[in-house]
Structure formats: structure tokens, C-alpha cells
């Protein structure tokens, strides 16, 4: 039982690191980035390619993951999403085109990774040696501890940054009313790049950490995580950091429970069911505000 809890906590932390960035850009600059899953995967993939050449320690691998994720995310923003926003006649059409463009962009790194690995799982070789401790009969590894600590620290930092800093305030203002906030001096294009970079960095960090924890991931694992993270964001409420935290851990707990108590591969159905139930009965999510636009 406690062992399952540890598993759920580390799983939820990965969801959290991944979903934080997704929720940040969606809740502020209104971009639902469908390439988020592939950024997560490709950051781990680049770390894998580098680890084939030189054996690195954990800090460097993590930095590589964050850098690759942030660069990809900013690149997609500059080359795809920003041009779409500039050309679209209104925000509603832009939203859909961004989703479609994201799906298109996402297939490119995926195809590259699939081609290189022949769709086999890939792992990162590292000099970092993960120990397994046993506390009161519960096993927990160093990697798991790092994942949980990273998730908690980053979400707390993000929440404080959004609340306290001027940039955070500007980003939140854009989320409420993009036009008015730009009249008041918030530079939407620059803040969007920053938010996308932050979001991609978090995805890259999650990618490297999950690969180290599991030993190996498949190139396709980003797609599944995308739907799961979407469920976590919906459950918590778009744009609310506390919501994503609660959503991610709740989802991980439910999934772990299903995994332990059923035989089949029904785990994948959990996020789907949650998306549906929440959208039907509480579309603003547990911690969202009712006035947020849904249509």
C-alpha cells in the first residue's frame, strides 16, 4: 500500500512537471501546445544521443534536457504559432490552427526519433548511480526522490513567480484580457517566448528524469502523456498552479489504483474518463474560475 503511494507520488510528479508548462501557456497566452509531448520525448532523445558519445552525470543531463526542451518550444513558438496568430483573422480560428499546426509540427521530431531508434525504447547511460533506500519496508530510489523534489520546487517557484513578479503579473493579465494588458504595456510577443521557453524546459526536465527513472522510454510515450496531462490540467482548472498540482497527483493516484486492482490495460482509459466527467460536471475544473471562457 505505502509502496503504491510512493509509485503514485513519483508518477504524479512527472505528470506535474509535464503539465505545469502546458497549463502555463494555455492559461496565459491561450496556446494549447500539441507538440508539448514530443518536446518531452525529444529532450530525452537528445540526452540519449549525447550519452552514447560521452558518459555524463545527472546535473549535466538535466541541463541538456531543459535546454533542448526550451529551445524547441521557443523555436515552435517563433516559427509556427506566432505566424499563425499574426495571420489569423480572429483568436478563435487561430486557436484551432495552432492546435492543428502543433499536431503537424509534433510529427517531425517523432519521425526523426522513430527513424533513429526503429521505434524501440531508448535509455540514457549515465555515471549517476541511483541508490534504493528502504524506509519502513518501502523502497524508494534516489531518482524518485529527485523527481518528487523537483516537481514540488518548480511548481512552488512557478506559483510564486506568477503571483509576485511583474512578468508574472503581466502574463496573468494577458490571460484575462490580452488587448487591454498590451495597452497597459505588457509585451505579449516577448512574454509568450518566455512562457513557451519555461514550459518547454519543464517538459525537457520531465523527459530526462522519467527516462532515468524507468530506464527507457519509447518515442511514442509523449503522445500518451499529452492526453494524461490534458486530463490533469482540466481536472485542476486551466491556469491554476495549485489546480495542476492537485490534478496531477489525483490522476496518478487513480491510475495507480486502477493498475493495482484491475488486470487489463484499462489505465489508459482513466484520463479519458476524467476529461469527460470534469468537462460535464465542473468544466472550470476544481480550482478554476467559472468566468473563464469555454466556448
Amino acid at each position: 500500500m505505502l509502496q503504491d503511494l510512493v509509485f503514485a507520488m513519483s508518477l504524479g510528479s512527472i505528470y506535474l512537471l509535464f503539465a505545469l508548462g502546458m497549463s502555463l501557456v494555455w492559461g496565459t497566452i491561450g496556446i494549447l501546445n500539441f507538440a508539448h509531448g514530443v518536446i518531452f520525448m525529444f529532450a530525452a532523445f537528445v540526452a540519449y544521443l549525447i550519452s552514447q558519445e560521452v558518459t555524463l552525470g545527472l546535473p549535466l543531463l538535466v541541463l541538456i534536457g531543459i535546454a533542448v526542451g526550451a529551445l524547441m518550444s521557443v523555436g515552435i513558438q517563433l516559427l509556427a504559432f506566432e505566424p499563425i496568430l499574426r495571420r489569423a483573422k480572429d483568436f478563435r480560428t487561430a486557436e484551432l490552427q495552432i492546435l492543428i499546426g502543433g499536431i503537424g509540427v509534433a510529427t517531425i521530431p517523432l519521425a526523426i526519433a522513430q527513424h533513429e531508434t526503429k521505434s524501440n525504447p531508448f535509455g540514457i547511460t549515465t555515471s549517476f548511480d541511483s541508490q534504493t533506500y528502504e524506509v519502513f519496508g518501502v523502497r524508494i530510489s534516489t531518482t524518485q526522490i529527485i523527481i518528487i523534489v523537483a516537481a514540488v520546487v518548480f511548481s512552488a517557484a512557478l506559483a510564486i513567480w506568477l503571483r509576485r513578479s511583474r512578468h508574472g503579473l503581466a502574463l496573468r493579465a494577458i490571460g484575462v484580457d490580452s488587448e487591454t494588458s498590451s495597452l497597459m504595456g505588457a509585451n505579449r510577443a516577448r512574454l509568450a517566448i518566455g512562457a513557451m521557453g519555461l514550459s518547454g524546459g519543464l517538459a525537457g526536465l520531465a523527459g530526462v528524469l522519467l527516462t532515468l527513472n524507468l530506464g527507457a522510454i519509447t518515442p511514442e510515450s509523449g503522445d500518451a502523456l499529452l492526453v494524461t496531462a490534458f486530463a490533469a490540467v482540466i481536472l485542476g482548472g486551466v491556469g491554476s498552479v495549485l489546480g495542476v498540482v492537485v490534478g496531477s497527483y489525483a490522476l496518478a493516484m487513480i491510475e495507480t489504483w486502477v493498475l493495482v486492482n484491475t488486470s487489463g490495460t484499462w489505465v489508459a482509459a482513466v484520463s479519458f474518463g476524467i476529461i469527460f466527467l470534469v468537462l460535464l460536471f465542473r468544466p472550470q475544473g476544481l480550482f478554476g474560475h467559472a468566468e473563464v471562457r469555454r466556448t
Binding site: L32, A80, P83, I84, R87, A88, K89, R92, T93, E95, L96, Q97, I98, L99, I100, G101, I103, G104, V105, A106, T107, I108, L110, A111, I112, Q114, H115, D223, V227, F230, A231, I234, G264, T265, W266, A268, A269, S271, F272, I275, F276, L279, L280, P283, R294, T295
Partner: protein, 325 residues
Amino acid sequence: MIEWYESNLVLIQGTIINLLLALSLQVPFRFGVFSFAGIGAFGIGGYAAAILILEQEVSAVVAIIGAMVVGVAVCWVLGLVVARLGGLYLGMATIAFTLIIAVVAINGGERTGGVIGLFGVLADLPTWTILAFALVAVAILAITERGAIGRRVEAVREDPELAASIGVNVRRYRLVAFVASGALGAAAGAMNTIVRTTIGPTDIGFGIVVLALTMMIIGGTRSWLGALIGAIIFTWLPSILESVGTWQHLVYGALVALAAIFMPGGLLGVMTDGWRGLQRRRRRASRGTSVVEDPTEAEAAAAEEPAAELAPLLDAANTGERGQS
């Protein structure tokens, strides 16, 4: 001609099936409903037809119609359930629905063949039957693109509040879009299963969503003609571009991204814009001589200009097209 037909039979059938698949995504899109439910119906229809043929030994046409009934029923219920969602929320909810079909299929045990899927789905399906289904579908859709119905559909898409204020039952139109996409997707799925004699969970995954989206976005979202253009390109392109091979998905993805950024109207949109531009220039050219001779007439021509600008739009309205400007 007959020789060409026989050697390319698989591709011809594939084109028609892909047309129906693209339409199952395009119809809700044209109604302003961003729904991927049609792709889910593709999987449901594919499995329904396989099970009907394997267990009940029905004929191909009965299997297709049975699959369509199942697809329509599921999408109708789904449409009722997600009626209050819109935009991205609807898109993601229906993507989740679509991806879950494969999970259900994997957990279906004997009946769906689990991870491996179903094999030996043998039924006689002549090409003219496939064509007949497609022609009926296209004829019905062509009606919804013209005249009063076409304008109502356009109003529901572009401005639902305005449409509701002038007495259009927006909810009903949206539900119709769900049902239609269910029927089209299920028909395409059933035919795909029968033509290939097999279906498995990997056939109805994310790849099929990307393929349908690619065909619709590259071809054009505003008319069935766009879906046809997309279906033709992406059924025949792989066989022509054999060298692309394993990079096929990369090429598709890049094309979707480029189309989403630079030509949101698709190839059809580019073509209609080009045609309109050509007509406009021709009208100007025919007036060109009078401009030099008599300045007053030139003014008259300039005053006429808005009407001249409207003419191609009216033409376009008749064919169910709409400008991107």
C-alpha cells in the same frame, strides 16, 4: 483504361475510403464543431463490420450499414454529452474519445482479438458499391453547401450567437454534424476493414487522426471538393514518392504545419482565390481602354468596382465557397 483501373484498384478504393474519412472530419469542422469523433467512428465502424462479418456472416453492404448504425448511435450520444463544450475543449475531448477506442479494442478479449486484432474478414465488396456510398454522401453534403442550408451552416460556423438570434437551432445543427461524422467515419472504417480483410488496434491510433487531418487541411476545409483533393493527393503520393519511404510521416507533418501557417484555406482555398484574382484582373483589363479615353468613365468604372468585387463572391456562394479574407 481498364488495364490502368485493374492495376490501380487498391489505390482507387483507397482514395474513396480516404475521401469518406476526410469528410468525417471536415463535416463537423464546416459546421463550426472542432470534433475528431468521426475518426473514433472509423475505428468503431471497422471493428463493428469485422465482428458482423465474422460472427453473423453478413454481406459486405449489410456490414457497412450495420457499422454506420453503430457509428451514428455512438456519435449521437457523444454529441449530446459534449453539447456544452466548444473550441479546444471539444477538440481534446473528442481526441480522447478517439484514442480510447483502441484501448477498448485491446481490452475486448476474444471478440476484438485484443492486441493482435481481427483477421480474415472476408466479404465481397465491389468498387462500384464503395463508389455508390461515396456518391450518396457527397451529394447530400453538396446540398448542405449551397443555398439557404449552406448559408445557415455558414452562420452556425462563423457566428453561433448571431445564427441563434435569427432562429437557427444551433444545437441541432451541431448534433447533425456529430451524427454525419459518425456515419461517414463508420462507413470508411467498415470499408477499410473489408478491403484489407483485417483490423487491429494499431490501425486506429493517432496515425489515422494525423492522416485525416492532413487530407482535410491540405485539401481545404470549406467544401467536399477540398476533401477529395486531399484524399487523392495522400492516397497516391506515397506510391509516387517511394523514395520518401520511412520519412512519410515527417513529410505529412511538415505539410500540415506549413498549411496551417500559410494556407489555412487549403489547396482549394488557394485555387478559388487564384481564380477570383484572375477574373478580377480580366474585368479590369477589359475596362482598361476606356480609362485612358475618358476620365469620367473611369470614375464610373471605379464606382462599379465594388459590384465587380462582389460578383466572384456571389459565384463562390453558389458553389458553396467562401473567402478567407
